[in-house]
Symmetry: C2
């Protein structure tokens, strides 16, 4: 599939047509996968993936409460994004914000009973959807390969980001 003609016209080659086709398939399909999962979580449990991530983090921690910036670090979100999201979740009664006694300007995020309930109701449907949409779609080997691909992409992504 490599050209029989002269040297690469660029210092380093651009992707081949085949690589580009795979890229598009890969990025579009994974995006569709995420959308489909989000859609199911929404219709079955009235939660978004963001809601789920926040509730999961709060559920796993002692006393079901956490400082806002801790939470941001834990789930890997920008603070601004988290702040917006918490505002929406607070409106729906899933969490509660409360001033932190120890840290100046600190905000404690508390899981409410409503939020706890919503999360527990969502767990099984969510895991089932992951099985149906992801695990059942692939062979065991493909699942392992997917893990390795994700790890390689992540490593490369972090390296790229660090050198910029």
């Amino acid at each position: 599939m490599t050209k029989a003609t002269a040297d690469p016209p660029n210092g380093r080659q651009l992707p081949t047509a085949e690589q580009l086709r795979i890229w598009r398939d890969f990025i579009e399909t994974t995006h569709a996968l995420g959308s489909q999962l989000a859609s199911r979580l929404q219709t079955e449990c009235s939660l978004s993936p963001g809601d789920y991530a926040v509730l999961l983090a709060l559920t796993e921690v002692q006393d079901h409460q956490m400082r806002s910036s801790e939470l941001a670090t834990h789930i890997g979100w920008e603070r601004s994004r988290l702040s917006h999201h918490l505002g929406r979740m607070e409106r729906r009664g899933l969490i509660r914000r409360q001033e932190c006694a120890t840290v100046p300007r600190g905000a404690e995020i508390h899981l409410t009973p409503t939020g706890d309930e919503a999360f527990r109701a969502a767990t099984v449907p969510h895991l089932r959807a992951i099985r149906e949409l992801f695990v059942d779609a692939l062979t065991p080997d493909q699942i392992l390969a997917a893990g390795e691909i994700a790890a390689a992409l992540r490593t490369h992504l972090d390296a790229q980001r660090r050198e910029e």
Copy 2:
């Protein structure tokens, strides 16, 4: 890795911890990959991936113009999404909308010189980013595996969607 104890408590198993870890890695990393590419396309070319997809489709077609719903089908978008996006692109002078003579209520989308220019300026940076973020991160085998994984996920996704 399978439990040595009794039968599965559910009719069909929920994902194992290992499968769940891979799922999270996979979905989060692919999302981050898309974001990073979008960010580079934005800062280097002032285009979003959506802009790029629309411009690519228009560039590839005769006379650089296309019916709106054709375009939607071609790039696989919902019409409403396309309509919103075209509004934003029209504001920036990348495309132009014009009534269609032959089709009732039809809209012809035209590529403007500005849009053509923007697309041509974006092509190489975009392909370079794909190489740097995706192709360079993986071995040739992993790239092929990624293609097969995407194909398997897509097939399964379409099948699921059809039976609902």
